[in-house]
């Protein structure tokens, strides 16, 4: 909770400081595709992580400079917990929330109806295991699914294209890679097992935004 509170304060402060003349507000939808992480145990190895799932988001941004903007994003991702070894697999319901602030380097809005942008920033990702715990879980020799939540610092990188539909309305396609440490609170390695590596969540999205 302490990490969550600090992150919100930081992001709010950043948003306020980046005062500019133009603001942009929008919503996006897409899907998240996560990479697996190897887990090695005394009885062998498996791959664990999160399943792909739908993603929804909202953002608000403002122009800081001619080619530089700042955006505060919120995203909701369906992220079922998952582990696989050989022909066996097991899963557990889960979701994730992301909150991040990105600096957007973009082409000039007045030069063309199409704008390209690159984004980089940071924030946090909240993982939540929401499935039903059971005394026995398949592949529990590697890791245990847990009904709990974990907050992880997150790096966000990506880019996209904005297309002017009307004077102040943009069609927006973008791509993000949310990079976090692996949430071992949710997928806890079994005794003798080890989970290592970063978790990448690749999220392509499409959305609309309004400039005012």
């Amino acid at each position: 909770m302490r990490t969550l509170g600090l992150s919100i304060l930081f992001l709010a402060a950043a948003g306020t400081a980046c005062y500019a003349q133009q603001w942009e507000f929008g919503g996006t939808a897409g899907a998240g595709f996560l990479t697996g992480v190897p887990v090695t145990g005394v009885v062998g190895s498996a791959t664990t992580g999160f399943k792909s799932g739908a993603a929804f988001g909202a953002f608000i941004g403002n122009d800081l400079y001619r080619h530089l903007s700042g955006e505060l994003h919120y995203g909701f991702l369906q992220s079922d917990l998952h582990i696989q070894s050989g022909g066996s697999d097991a899963s557990f319901a889960g979701v994730a929330h992301v909150v991040h602030y990105d600096l957007i380097l973009h082409t000039s809005r007045s030069e063309s109806k199409v704008q390209f942008f690159a984004a980089a920033g940071g924030g946090m990702k909240i993982f939540r295991g929401t499935g039903k715990e059971a005394a026995y879980q398949p592949l529990s020799q590697y890791a245990y699914f847990t009904r709990t939540q974990a907050v992880k610092p997150m790096i966000s990188v990506g880019g996209g294209i904005k297309y002017v539909i009307r004077r102040n309305i943009f069609l927006r396609t973008e791509f993000r890679d949310y990079i976090t440490p692996f949430p071992t609170e949710l997928i806890a390695p079994a005794p003798g097992a080890k989970i290592s590596g970063l978790l990448h969540d690749f999220v392509p999205m499409v959305g609309l935004s309004v400039v005012f």
Partner: protein
């Protein structure tokens, strides 16, 4: 004589007479009509019952609201059968007009009156011959059966269409005293709920002993008739299943093809007492059928019921039965006898019946509002052992199934058995106390009935059987209580199971061969007699004495398959399988045959069978059919009904044996009967066939030519059962049902040398009318031999007579986590060698103090046992022991050396018996929110409530007797309350004490605080008065 007659005789001999309360007349209402009722019709749309008053020439209209006659409709003479049209507009009345002598009826006698119930107009239509029965069919026409024909009468046009003709049926008026209208009419018909099917039964007429069951199919406009040479006669009472697929006539149930699906066992002939009604929705039949077990008087109705011609001391009793096999669920006293039609209302809550006084109304849907009695157990088995020969007590709970407070009295008319209190009000628990010293010379099992009576209850409480088993140390076998009349036992040749037929409840009891515990119950048809297993080992077949069906069960799924229907009039008494044919002894009973159809048995074979009373059929399981054999090879196919068949284990031959001394042999190799001899004046007892050309019946050894080649010693008792283990034969015998049994390993068949060993109780012996018994079966894995005995089943070790070394004790630990500390009332495991000749667990309550020929004593006190095996025994320490203790084990091999250990006041330990998926040995800590074991994948969270199952929490308040399950109210709490911490934080313990319903198992309920530390291995510590136990659990926030 039927098997059930014999059962009744045995029960009667045992003194198991039923008694009925003197005020059972409180159930039901009698409406005296002032005349003689012939038939009734229920009109729920108007809330009335029409009663045809045969003698007074009127239809009495009885209100179903107040059960009084509000009006009467005058009709022509002798109104007999009634029928109400489906639209409730017309009431049809058949006027019986078969008159002889000087009697003169004033109105046209042979007619049907149609009464329009809306405008009260009457229309009388002549039928030519005397109308006997009427029923409306689906299209509104009236089916009329007369003495000579079936007619269809159109109420609109008055047109009468002949459907079929009939042999003459008649009984002339006038009649003598005590003859009731249904005895005159001798027929009754009833339609299915949809009106498409009408069933009826009629007397076949003068000079014909048979009766006729007929079915009219409205879709085909065709009548199907079946001749019924039933004995005793089926009285004309018909009830039809809602879909018309079957009907009950008199005391028997028939399908649409005339197959007898079930007949009530043990029927006693009666001139007029019988009635039945089917509740198709609930699968129940309500019936009064006189039988040998009908309760005795004095009658509670005025003096002796005038219609009670069976016996003046038989009381009117309504049986509530399962519709498929007529298993009696309960029996309820009635004010008077049913002597005609019985009908249920649509809701199935009220039964209306023609009775002595006219109409009787029974609120069968409100039975729970009437006082009744039932006991919690059918049997109470008391056993003594070397460790415990003192007074034994057990509890018995008497309840009212409706939850009411009903007074009762319970008595045991036998010295040495006392009941306290001997009377009370339900619900009540009485203590049955047995002093074994009163039975110490029996060396077997004495049977004492506990009779439950009441001045209030309307039902007939079943007596409770008290069994007192008092064997000597040299006697072998563990007695398992299996209530009821057990008629056959069979071991599964490929599965570790055995099957027992419980005849009085129409069940196959399936027992596990490892634990000897019942694992399934299969419903059979009525009165199962013998079993057989098909040679492919896939199916179990069961024959019945009161059903034409042979039930077939898939032994893998334990599901019933399509039954095999025997030819009409045949009932399977015994079956045996071989590599060629499966044979069955089919008793020839009075049963229907399709009129004009092809007989199943023709020619000389039939004549021979009829002369003997039974025949041999071939049963084809895959084709689901049975076929009478034309001959038994060169011999006629006629055998006695008591004939039994014994298969050789590998299917090479089948031995047949009759009680007149005849034996015969079917050889699978030749696929024919190769021998039939009668060298003995009589035979009875056990019977078996070997794979080595040896055959045993009673006390006689036959060779493969069926020549008697040896006689077994008869001085050890009557023969009960045989089995072969390879070339070795074994026999069980007993001198009396209450004495010890004897099992002999007949080492040399030729000279009959045998080595007898006494069994713990007697195997079942032949009773009058049942000449042959199959009471013993070796389990397929050669682990044990199981036998039907006085109390139920006795299990003996395979090498029951082998020399056994004395038991040795290696260690004593608690049964939860297998560590040393043990406490009073806790469960313990004793490890050692030669501690029991068999592996056996028990489900008896209270726990027995002897199991599998083994018993334990601690400081001289007997210890209740849960499980025994050669190397481990699980038991409960008595609550009254503490401190230094000495343990000894007694087995057939002798007494162990003393084993010294210490009993702490408390020694908490958590069971490691939990399982989750493939994981075993888990600590039994349960999260209450999902009722699953706490594991790393189901961790403890803050605010969870957990239940910890343990043993060793010591004495409780209130105290609980050793060997008995803990009560639910009041909860027995541990005297020393435990503290539970998780990661150093105290948990709020809301309960610590015994688990209700369990023996020696405690539970601790605790709630987890919010601030509990999290981690993969957080210590959970139970501290009880300084005795601690610690486990690691995963905690997640």
């Amino acid at each position: 004589m039927r098997w059930n007659c014999l059962i009744s005789i045995v029960l009667a001999a045992a003194g198991l007479n039923f008694t009925l309360p003197c005020n059972a007349a409180g159930f039901g209402t009698v409406v005296a009509i002032g005349g003689q009722a012939a038939d009734i019709a229920l009109d729920e749309s108007r809330g009335v019952v029409y009663v045809s008053n045969f003698a007074a020439h009127r239809i009495d209209v009885v209100s179903t609201a107040d059960f009084t006659i509000h009006t009467s409709m005058n009709v022509p003479d002798a109104p007999g059968a009634l029928a109400l049209s489906p639209d409730f507009r017309l009431l049809a009345v058949a006027h019986y007009g078969d008159v002889s002598g000087s009697l003169s009826l004033t109105n046209p006698p042979n007619a049907v009156t149609l009464i329009n119930l809306n405008d009260h107009t009457h229309q009388t239509i002549g039928t030519g011959d005397t109308p006997l029965g009427v029923a409306f069919i689906n299209d509104g026409r009236l089916l009329v059966v007369t003495t000579t024909s079936f007619l269809l009468l159109d109420p609109v046009s008055g047109y009468v269409q002949p459907v079929d003709t009939f042999a003459n049926l008649s009984k002339s008026l006038a009649i003598g005293a005590g003859t009731f209208p249904p005895q005159v009419v001798e027929t009754e018909m009833a339609a299915s709920a949809d009106g498409y099917t009408v069933y009826g039964i009629a007397d076949a007429g003068a000079g014909n002993a048979a009766q006729v069951l007929y079915r009219y199919d409205a879709r085909q406009n065709q009548v199907f008739t079946f001749s019924l040479p039933a004995t005793p006669t089926l009285l004309p009472r018909i009830s039809v299943a809602a879909d018309g697929s079957w009907a009950m006539a008199g005391y028997a149930v028939f399908d649409r093809y005339g197959h007898e699906l079930a007949q009530y066992p043990d029927v006693v002939a009666s001139a007029n007492i019988t009635g039945n009604a089917i509740d198709s929705k609930s699968g129940i039949i309500y019936a009064q059928i006189p039988d040998a077990s009908t309760p005795l008087g004095p009658p509670f109705s005025p003096a002796v019921s005038p219609a009670a011609q069976v016996s003046s001391t038989k009381l009117p009793v309504l049986s509530i039965m399962d519709a498929d096999n007529l298993t009696v669920r309960d029996r309820v006293g009635m004010p008077e006898n049913i002597i005609g039609r019985a009908v249920l209302n649509a809701a199935g809550t009220m039964l209306y019946a023609v009775s002595d006084s006219g109409l009787m109304v029974l609120p069968i849907g409100s039975l729970n509002q009437y006082p009744r009695l039932t006991a919690s157990q059918e049997d109470l088995l008391f056993q003594t052992s070397f460790c415990n020969s003192g007074v034994v007590t057990k509890n018995l709970t008497i309840t009212d199934p409706g939850g009411g407070s009903t007074s009762f009295t319970i008595v045991a008319n036998q010295n040495g058995v006392t009941v306290s209190p001997s009377s009370g009000v339900t619900p009540a628990t009485v203590q049955v106390r047995v002093d074994p010293s009163a039975f110490q010379n029996s060396n077997g099992t004495a049977t004492v009935p506990l009779l439950i009576t009441s001045g209030q209850a309307v039902n007939v409480p079943r007596p409770v059987r008290v069994l007192i088993n008092d064997p000597d140390q040299d006697q072998r076998g563990t007695v398992l209580d299996v209530p009821g009349y057990l008629s056959d036992i069979l071991a599964d040749p490929v599965r570790n199971r055995f099957y027992v037929l419980r005849q009085d409840r129409n069940q196959v009891l399936v027992f596990d061969g490892a634990t000897y515990a019942p694992v399934a119950t299969l419903r059979t048809a009525t009165t199962p007699t013998r079993m057989a297993i098909s040679m492919d080992r896939k199916y179990l077949l069961v024959g019945h004495d009161n059903s034409q069906m042979v039930m077939v069960y898939d032994l893998d799924s334990l599901q019933a398959q399509t039954p095999i229907m025997l030819p009409s009039g045949q009932y399977v008494r015994s079956m045996a399988e071989s590599n060629q044919l499966m044979l069955a002894v089919a008793r020839e009973g009075p049963a229907p045959s399709a009129t004009g159809g092809t007989s199943a048995c023709v020619g000389a074979a039939c004549a021979a069978a009829s002369a003997k009373g039974a025949r041999i059929d071939s049963i084809d399981v895959s084709a689901v059919m049975a076929t009478p054999l034309n001959s038994l090879g060169i011999y006629q196919n006629g055998v006695l009904p008591t004939t039994v068949l014994a298969p050789a284990p590998s299917g090479g031959s089948i031995l047949g044996s009759m009680d007149d001394g005849t034996v015969f042999l079917y050889s699978a190799a030749e696929n024919t009967f190769v021998g039939l001899r009668q060298d003995m004046p009589s035979l009875q007892g056990g019977y078996a066939a070997s794979d080595y050309g040896n055959y045993l019946v009673g006390n006689t050894i036959f060779n493969k030519s069926l020549v008697p080649v040896g006689t077994l010693d008869a001085s050890v008792g009557s023969s009960s059962g045989f089995y072969f283990a390879g070339k070795n034969a074994f026999r069980t015998t007993a001198s009396a049902a209450s004495g010890p049994g004897v099992i002999e390993n007949i080492a040399t068949l030729q000279n009959g040398l045998a080595s007898p060993t006494r069994m713990s109780e007697a195997p079942l012996l032949p009773i009058k009318g049942v000449s042959f018994t199959r009471t013993v079966a070796p389990l397929s894995n050669n682990s044990a031999v199981v036998a039907l005995t006085t109390s139920g089943v006795t299990v003996m070790a395979w090498h029951y007579d082998a020399a056994v070394a004395a038991p040795q004790i290696a260690s004593v630990v608690n049964a939860a986590d297998m560590t040393q500390p043990v406490a009073p009332g806790g469960l313990i495991s004793v490890f050692g060698q030669q501690m029991s000749p068999v592996n056996m667990a028990t489900q008896q309550i209270p726990l027995p103090t002897a199991l599998g020929d083994s018993c334990l004593s601690v400081n001289g006190a007997p210890v209740p046992l849960l499980f025994v095996s050669s190397q481990q025994i699980n038991a409960q320490l008595p609550f009254n022991l503490q401190g230094d203790a000495t343990l000894t084990i007694h087995t057939p091999g002798g007494i162990s050396d003393n084993y010294y250990f210490s009993i702490s006041a408390v020694a908490p330990s958590v069971f490691r018996s939990g399982t989750a998926g493939p994981e075993t040995g888990l600590a039994t800590i349960v999260r209450d929110d999902n009722n699953q074991l706490v594991t790393p994948s189901n961790p403890i969270h803050p605010n969870n409530v957990i239940t910890i199952y343990a043993t060793g929490l010591g004495r409780t308040l209130p105290a609980v007797d050793t060997g008995l399950p803990a009560p639910a109210d009041p909860l027995p709490q541990a005297v020393v309350q435990p503290n539970v911490t998780l990661g150093g934080m105290s948990l709020n313990v809301t309960y610590a004490g015994l688990v209700p319903g369990e023996v020696g198992v405690y539970q601790i309920n605790a709630s987890v605080p919010f601030g509990v530390p999290e981690g993969m291995d957080i210590p959970l510590v139970i501290d009880q008065g300084g005795a601690t136990t610690t486990l690691s659990v995963r905690v997640v926030k």
